[in-house]
Amino acid sequence: MVRAFNLLHFLSFFSLGVSGCLAVSFIVALFLGDEGVRPLALATVIAATVGLVLRIRQRSGTELTHREGILLVTVAWLVATFFGALPFYFSRHFSSFTDAFFESISGLTTTGATVLTNVEALPPSLLFWRCFTHWLGGMGIIVLGIAVLPLIGVGGMELYRAEFSGARSDKVRPRIAETAKALWKIYAVLTVTLYIALRLAGMGNLDAVCHSFSAMGTGGFSTRNASIEAFGSPVIELIIAFFMLLAGINFTLHYRLMVERRPSRFFRDVELRAYLFLIGGVTLIIAAELARWDLHSYPDALRFAFFQTVSIMTTGGFSSTDFESWPALAQFLLFAAMFAGGCTGSTAGGLKIARIVLLTRVVGREFRRLISPRAVFTVRLSADDRISERTVESLLNLVYLAFLVFFAASGLLTAVGVDFLTAITATAAAMFNIGPGLGQVGPTENFAHLPTFAKWVLCLCMLAGRLEFYTLLVLFVPAFWRK
C-alpha cells in the first residue's frame, strides 16, 4: 500500500534539503560573482517553494511501509535530479532539458558522463555544483537525509538498504541515524584531507574543491576538458588515485580503522584484499603491455596504468591520458574492470568486489558438488562469515538482472543508430556509474552527440545502477502498485 500524503511529507523535507544544497552553490556563485548566480538562485527558490508548498497540507508522516520506502528512494532521487538539473537548464549552456537532466543524474549517481563539449566554458559556480552533486550522491542522498533529518525512524532501514550497498548486517552503530552520521563524518574527513593534499600539490582553490568532491564520490566530473591530464602533474595524479582507492573501500572498514582503531578488522577483510589484489594485478599487466608496445617508458607506464585502473575500477572515470589509443588487451582489461567496481559500502559503483568473490565461490561450490554429489557445502566470505542461501540466491539474481539490463539497454542504443562498441561501453559506463566508455564516448569525447532517446535510456541505466537495480526496476512490476 502506498499513501501519497506520507511520501509527500518526506519529499517536502527532501526538497528543502536539496534547496539548501543549491543555496550553498548559490553562495559560491555570489562569492565568485560569475554568471551562475541567476540560475542557481532560481533553482534554490523553486526547490524551496516546492518544499514549502508540500508542507502546507500539514499532515505529519507516519511510519513508512515497505513499499513506500522503496518508492520513496526512487522518487527522492528523481526529485533531487530534477532540481539539480534546473541550474544547468537556466544557464543556457545546455541545449535542452534532456541534456541538463542527463548532466544532473550523471552527477548525482557519480557517473561523471557529460554532455558538455567544452566544460571550461561553464561558469565556475556551476562547475562547483556539478562536482557537489557527485559528493552528495557518492555517500547517498538518502543516507544523508537519515543522518541529518531526525524524522526517519524505523522505515529508515528500508531506505538505507535500498541505497547503501554495504548494509548487509554490518551497521557500524545499532541506530541507523547514528550509522549514517558516522559514515558521513568519515566521508567528510577524507574529503577535507584530499582537499588539503591537492592544495599542497599546487592545485588552485576551486579546482581542488571540485576534484575533492569528484574523487571522493568516485564521480569523474572535472573542471577541465582534458580531465586530470590537464594538470600534467604526477603528484596530483597519485593523490587523486590514492583517494579514489580509499573511496572504493567499504566505509564500515574505514570506521573500524579510524574510529574503533582495529586495524586487524581492516586488513583481514576478504573483500578489501581481493580489491587490492585485482587493482594491483590489472595495473601490472597494463603497465607491462604499455611498455611492450613501446608507448611509454616503464615508470610512465606504471603511472598511467595505476591511475587509469583505479579510476575505472572505482568507477571514478577520470582520465590522465587517452586510453583509447592503448593496446587491445589494456582496453579490454579496463572494460572488464568496469563490471567489477569497488567494494560494497563504498561510494563506488559496479557489481562490487564482494559479489565477484562470492560468485566465484558459488561456481566453485557447484564444481565440488559435481565431484561429491552428497556432500554439503556452505559458501563463506571469510571463516566467520557464512553466507545464507537466501543471500546467494539474491546475489545470482542481481548479477543476472544486471546483465539483462545491460543487453536490453545496449540493444535500445544500437536501435537508434549508435555504433556497437559505443553502445555497449556507454551502457556499461552508465550502469556502473563510471563515466567514459570507449568508441564515440571515450575519455576525450562526450555524450552530447547521442540521440535524445539514447540519453534517456542511459539516464535510467545510471539510476538503476546506483540503486542496485531492484529498487528502481521493481516499480515496473504491476504487483507493486496493487493494494
Binding site: V154, S169, K171, P174
Partner: protein, 468 residues
C-alpha cells in the same frame, strides 16, 4: 546507553522497542535466521545472528562496549551462561536475566556472587502469579499494583452495564466520595488510553484505574460497588504449565481448595507429585460436562492459564456463563488484550508484559522505583523518589506545569503518610511519587523530574487531575 539484548523473542522485541524509543543503542542477538530478518525490518537496532552463549557471537555484538545486558532467550542455561561470559569478558554494568526454573530462589541466592553477578533475576511465572493472587478476592477488580512499599494501591476495574457509575462524570463522583482520597488515574476505552479530567464521563466497558492510599482501599471499594469475598475457598486452574503450578502452590499455602485441570496424563502425575493438597484433574478444563461435574457453580475463581491465548479467552467466557464468581485469563499477546475486554473478560494477565515491566525498571536512570505499563503500553505508572534538584519539588503542584497526559497520582512521605495530592500539595525531596503518564510523555517527564533543568514552561496548562 548501549544495551545488548539476548533473544529476539516476544519479550526481547517488546523491551527493545521501548528502549529504542528512549534513544538507546540496542543490539539484539538472535539465533533464528528468519527471525533476524523480521527483527531487522521491525526495529532500528543492530541484529546479530548467533547463539547467545557463543563467545564469538557476543563479540560480534560488541559485548565489550555494552553497558547493560538483558538475557531473555528461552533457555535458562543460555541466559546464565551469557551473563557468565559477560562477567568474564566485559565490564557490563547491569545484568538482567530471565529464568524459568522453579529453583529460582536457589538461583537468587547465588546470582549475586562475584563470578556471576546478575543484578536481577526475573521469573515470569512467579511475578505473574503474584499479580494474579492479589486480585482473587475482588471479583470486580482486574489488577492491583502496589506502590511506595504497599502504602499506595492502584487497582483496575471494569465498568459493568448495571453499575451505578455508568454516565457519571468524575466531578460528580468526587462530590459523593466518602474518603475524598482516591483518584481515577486512567481510563482505558477500547484502544485509547485517557488520562482523565473532571468532565470525563464513565461509559460501559471502560476499564478505570483508581489510585488510593492502602488504608482507604476497602472504603473505596464499597463506594464503587465492588463486592469483596471474605475468603477465597475454591479455585479452578486450567493448564498445568509452570504458572498454573506456581499459583496452585501459593493458594495451597493459604488453605484454598484448588482443582487443577491438565489434559496430559503423564504431566498430571508429575504435578500431583509437586503439589500437596490440590486436586489434579486429568481432563480438558474447557469441557462443559467436566466443569459441571467438578461443580464449577459458585467457584470463587476460574483461572485460565494454558499456553494458548485463544483457549484461555474462550474458556473464561464459558466459565463465567457457568457461574464462576471471578474469571481471569492469561493473554500473552498484547494485541489480544483490548479484544478480551470487549469479550467481557476483565482480568487478563500477561507474563510477557510483566517481564517487560520488571526489566524496564532497571533501565530507567535516576531513582525510579517501579514501572508498570498499561493498555498495549500506551500509558505508564512510574514511581520515583523525588530528587532535591528536580524542578517539581518544593512548589505547589498547581504551579508546576505538567503536560496534559501526566498526573501525579500519589505521594508517599518518608513519615509513612500517603496522600493523593491536590493542587495545593507540595512534593518534598525524598518523597515517593507515583505518576501516571501517556507513554510518549515518559522520556520528557523523566528528564524534567529527575534532572535539574529549567527549560521553562514549554508545556500547556496543567491538566486538572480530579480527586474524589
Amino acid at each position: 546507553m548501549r544495551i545488548l539484548i539476548l533473544g529476539g523473542g516476544a519479550v526481547g522485541t517488546l523491551v527493545a522497542r521501548r528502549l529504542i524509543g528512549e534513544k538507546n543503542e540496542v543490539t539484539i542477538v538472535e539465533k533464528d535466521e528468519a527471525r533476524c530478518v523480521l527483527l531487522q525490518e521491525m526495529l532500528d537496532a543492530k541484529i546479530v545472528q548467533g547463539s547467545a552463549s557463543s563467545i564469538s557471537a557476543l563479540e560480534r555484538a560488541d559485548l565489550a562496549h555494552a553497558e547493560m545486558l538483558i538475557a531473555v532467550t528461552n533457555s535458562d542455561e543460555t541466559n546464565i551462561l551469557s551473563c557468565l561470559i559477560a562477567q568474564a569478558h566485559s565490564n557490563v554494568k547491569i545484568k538482567v536475566a530471565r529464568l524459568r526454573t522453579h529453583e529460582v530462589d536457589r538461583w537468587n541466592a547465588i546470582c549475586g556472587q562475584q563470578y556471576l553477578n546478575i543484578d536481577r533475576i526475573i521469573h515470569p511465572d512467579r511475578e505473574t502469579a503474584e499479580r494474579i493472587l492479589k486480585v482473587l478476592r475482588y471479583p470486580g477488580i482486574s489488577a492491583i499494583h502496589d506502590f511506595a512499599e504497599g502504602a499506595i494501591r492502584l487497582f483496575a476495574m471494569g465498568i459493568e452495564p448495571r453499575s451505578w457509575l455508568v454516565g457519571k462524570s468524575l466531578a460528580e463522583l468526587g462530590a459523593e466520595s466518602p474518603t475524598q482520597s482516591s483518584l481515577i488515574a486512567m481510563i482505558l476505552r477500547g484502544h485509547n488510553t485517557i488520562i482523565p479530567t473532571g468532565v470525563d464521563r464513565l461509559q460501559v466497558g471502560d476499564q478505570i484505574y483508581v489510585a488510593v492510599p492502602a488504608s482507604d482501599f476497602n472504603t473505596t471499594l464499597d463506594f464503587l460497588g465492588i463486592t469483596q469475598l471474605r475468603e477465597v475457598e475454591r479455585v479452578f486452574i486450567v493448564g498445568g504449565k509452570q504458572l498454573g503450578i506456581e499459583v496452585a502452590l501459593q493458594l495451597e499455602k493459604k488453605g484454598v481448595a484448588v482443582k487443577l485441570f491438565e489434559r496430559d496424563l503423564a504431566r498430571c502425575q508429575r504435578i500431583a507429585e509437586i503439589v500437596s493438597d490440590s486436586v489434579v484433574v486429568n481432563g480438558d478444563g474447557t469441557d462443559q460436562q467436566l466443569l459441571l461435574q467438578e461443580n464449577i457453580q459458585g467457584v470463587d475463581a476460574y483461572l485460565a492459564l494454558t499456553g494458548d491465548d485463544e483457549v484461555n479467552m474462550i474458556a473464561s467466557m464459558l466459565a463465567k456463563r457457568l457461574g464462576a464468581t471471578k474469571v481471569a485469563a492469561l493473554v500473552n499477546r498484547p494485541d489480544f488484550i483490548p479484544v478480551s475486554q470487549l469479550l467481557g473478560i476483565s482480568a487478563t494477565f500477561s507474563s510477557r508484559l510483566t517481564v517487560v515491566d520488571r526489566i524496564l525498571q532497571f533501565i530507567r536512570k535516576g531513582r525510579v522505583v517501579s514501572v508498570t505499563s498499561f493498555n498495549e503500553e500506551q500509558a505508564e505508572a512510574i514511581e520515583l523518589i523525588a530528587s532535591a534538584k528536580s524542578r517539581l519539588v518544593n512548589r505547589k503542584l498547581k504551579d508546576v506545569h505538567l503536560p496534559k497526559g501526566v498526573i501525579v497520582g500519589a505521594i508517599g512521605r518518608p513519615s509513612g503518610e500517603v496522600i493523593v495530592p491536590r493542587g495545593n500539595d507540595i512534593i518534598h525531596p525524598g518523597d515517593r511519587v507515583v505518576f501516571f503518564a501517556l507513554e510518549r510523555l515518559v522520556p520528557a517527564l523523566e528528564s524534567e523530574f529527575i534532572l535539574d533543568k529549567s527549560r521553562g514552561n514549554r508545556w500547556f496548562a496543567r491538566s486538572t487531575s480530579f480527586i474524589f
